[in-house]
Amino acid sequence: MLRILNNLKELFKYRILVQNLVSRELKARYRGTVLGYFWSLFNPLLLMIVYTVVFGFIIRPRDPAFEGSPWLYALFLFCGVLPWQVWFASSSLESANVLLVQGNLIKKILFPVEILPIVVVTSNFIHFLLGLPILFVFVPILGKGYTPYLLFLPVVILVQYVFTLGFAFLVSSLTVHFRDIKDILANLLTFWFFASPIIYPMTFSTIQEHKWLNIFLNLNPMTHIMQGYQNCIFFGELIRWKRLGVTFLVSLLLLYIGYSVFDRLRDSFPEEV
């Protein structure tokens, strides 16, 4: 524990480096492309359109929350797909690679390596932030209003940040030793996407009727994070404090475990990457 605190202190000294690396990451990603940062939103937008067409228009949303409207369903989708796809999934996939890709840096320069997953999570977080205004623009267009509950959005974002970072530490350090994780992760994320209430609301009657399905979905921390976004933006109601609170504690635990594993494996990075 003491060691972790010391590391944190050390890390604080490098905050300017994190800041610079994040901005470098953002600049480098869009340099040389015509449409710039819209590419990072292209994938979630495409996903949203496909799901809207399939579930909104063809199958038709049955949940009363959507009042039978495909447009409301599209907005609901947007609330979940944006933080999931742009932030969580990209961060996880990138951090699985980051130590291997930046191997040269790890081998040649002395700096706290944990900066690398932090940079990954943070730069994807900024992508997510850049996507938020678009989401907000769509709120009235697709038939909803702004509510004061939007003010709770930062709380949800904080929980997701902690959770994503913990997961990134775990994935990035383990991939160095077990390269298979990269491939496992891509599949896991697909499964995880459907195991979180992103394309369906938790209030869906089928879920409510099946006790075990309900419990299973509630054990998934991302369920509560996604619901947080939907509460603030779509439903316009108060976030579920207790559930989100527990999720926050779980996220902190994941961060602790993730960082401990990372710290433990740290010495092996220069020779393994």
Binding site: A28, G32, K107, D180, D267, P270, E271
Partner: protein
């Protein structure tokens, strides 16, 4: 005061096979004994019980063959890797020129890379802003600094990397082989900067294969061999010991090759080596050996050394017309020297039975390389009794860097109007 103290450091690398990793992964999932089961399949000892101290303001050189542990040593000192056992203490800010431009991002401009690289090496943003012009000027990249780094040539890339690292203004500078890639105009500039560092009493750890530079700039030198410190001494002794070791190794290589040739000659010279040996052998050269003037058989010589060529000869009949000759060829087939007893006006009387012919070369005066030897006995008119063409070889090995075919003995002198620093050489050159 010692600013770098390396105390009994051992560094072991562990290698894990993919199969083992899979088993580990499985058992990690099934049994949960993740850390215990992470055992290596192969162990490589990169450094073994290495100890030394580097005093403040001195320049310390590390030499050794590839894979002798030099880079690992630097990594241990910078803290990039931790020693498996032993202690490393470093006092002061370290800048590591282990690889120039490590961490440059190709897509963004040189300017932005300077900032990020500088921060990584421990500078603050303000410090970089202050030194920015110096960095760019030293790297001679004024025109290109706003272009993406991917458009740089490898030389520009390296110059920028060196310029950043040297402008970090560290207390201790670690240099690993970086000058090997510089062009003719940049390397002297780098060396100048390094000299400047030494004048300002900063500590330098210099890892290089360039023994002449090591000898010139280092105060003490460590020779690493297979991860072990062989010698720590003033440069001359360490470099000599290192060169001797290399020569020994070359000699062993050479001897095994030589042995092969001899065997082949005995077994199948009739078939294969016809062109390499001819004549009816009325007088036979039964054996040729190369020796030092003291009579010790050897194959690797220095240009300053002498050589003894010994031929065991035998003549069954009493023969009155005979000439002994030798020739030295370099690896391009150029005859560096050739002579025989006839052209030096020896007058043969007779030869019968066994005998020995010895030719002493007092000083070889050749440049580095592999040489082949002809040995022959023939009539004055050229009719060969026994001619050995390029059957014997030897090697010249030294730290000289001169070129050509031979190395005439020479020396330099300058009139008082010309100021020039003589080499701090261990042997006067020439």
């Amino acid at each position: 005061m010692a600013v770098i103290e390396v105390d009994n450091v051992t560094r072991i690398y562990q290698k894990y096979s993919a199969q083992h990793r899979f088993k580990t992964f499985k058992s990690a999932i099934v049994k949960g004994d993740f850390f215990k089961s992470l055992k290596p399949d192969e162990i490589v000892t990169a450094l073994q019980n290495v100890s030394f101290k580097v005093g403040e303001g001195t320049t310390f050189g590390v030499i050794g063959e590839n894979g002798s542990g030099k880079s690992t040593l630097l990594k241990v000192i910078t803290g990039i890797t931790k020693p498996t056992s032993g202690q490393v203490a470093v006092r002061g800010k370290v800048s590591a020129l282990i690889e120039l431009g490590a961490g440059f991002h190709p897509e963004i401009s040189g300017r932005e890379n300077v900032y990020i690289n500088g921060i990584m090496l421990g500078l603050s943003k303000k410090e970089i802003a202050r030194k920015f012009d110096d960095i760019v000027r030293f790297a001679q990249l004024e025109e290109f600094i706003d272009a993406p780094v991917k458009t740089y040539s490898s030389g520009m890339y390296m110059r920028l990397g060196f310029s950043i690292a040297i402008n970090v203004n560290p207390d201790i500078l670690l240099i690993d082989e970086v000058l090997a890639v510089g062009d003719a105009s940049f390397v002297p500039k780098c060396l100048d900067r390094i000299d400047d560092f030494r004048r300002r009493k900063k500590t330098i750890l210099f890892v290089s294969h360039d023994l002449a530079t090591v000898e010139r700039i280092c105060d003490r030198v460590l020779w690493l061999k297979e991860g072990k410190a062989q010698i720590i001494s003033e440069p001359k002794r360490a470099i000599d010991a290192y060169l001797q070791d290399i020569a020994k190794k070359q000699k062993e290589d050479f001897e095994s090759k030589q042995h092969e040739v001899e065997q082949r000659m005995e077994e199948e010279w009739d078939e294969e080596r016809r062109e390499a040996r001819w004549g009816k052998r009325e007088i036979e050269i039964r054996r040729v050996s190369l020796k030092s003037p003291e009579g010790q058989e050897k194959y690797v010589f220095s240009p300053e050394e002498g050589m003894l060529i010994e031929m065991d000869v035998r003549s069954s009949a009493r023969i009155k017309d005979f000439v002994f000759g030798i020739g030295i060829f370099n690896s391009q087939g150029i005859r560096c020297y050739g002579t025989n007893t006839h052209s030096e006006d020896f007058e043969p009387r007779f030869i019968q039975g066994e005998g020995k012919v010895t030719c002493l070369i007092e000083k070889l005066s050749l440049i580095n390389g592999t040489y082949y030897l002809d040995a022959a006995v023939h009539k004055k008119n050229g009719y060969p009794y026994d001619y050995h063409r390029n059957l014997y070889s030897f090697m010249i090995s030294s730290s000289h860097r001169d070129v050509g075919i031979a190395r005439p003995q020479h020396s330099w002198s300058f009139s008082p109007g010309i100021e020039i620093k003589p080499p701090l050489s261990r042997k006067a050159r020439g």
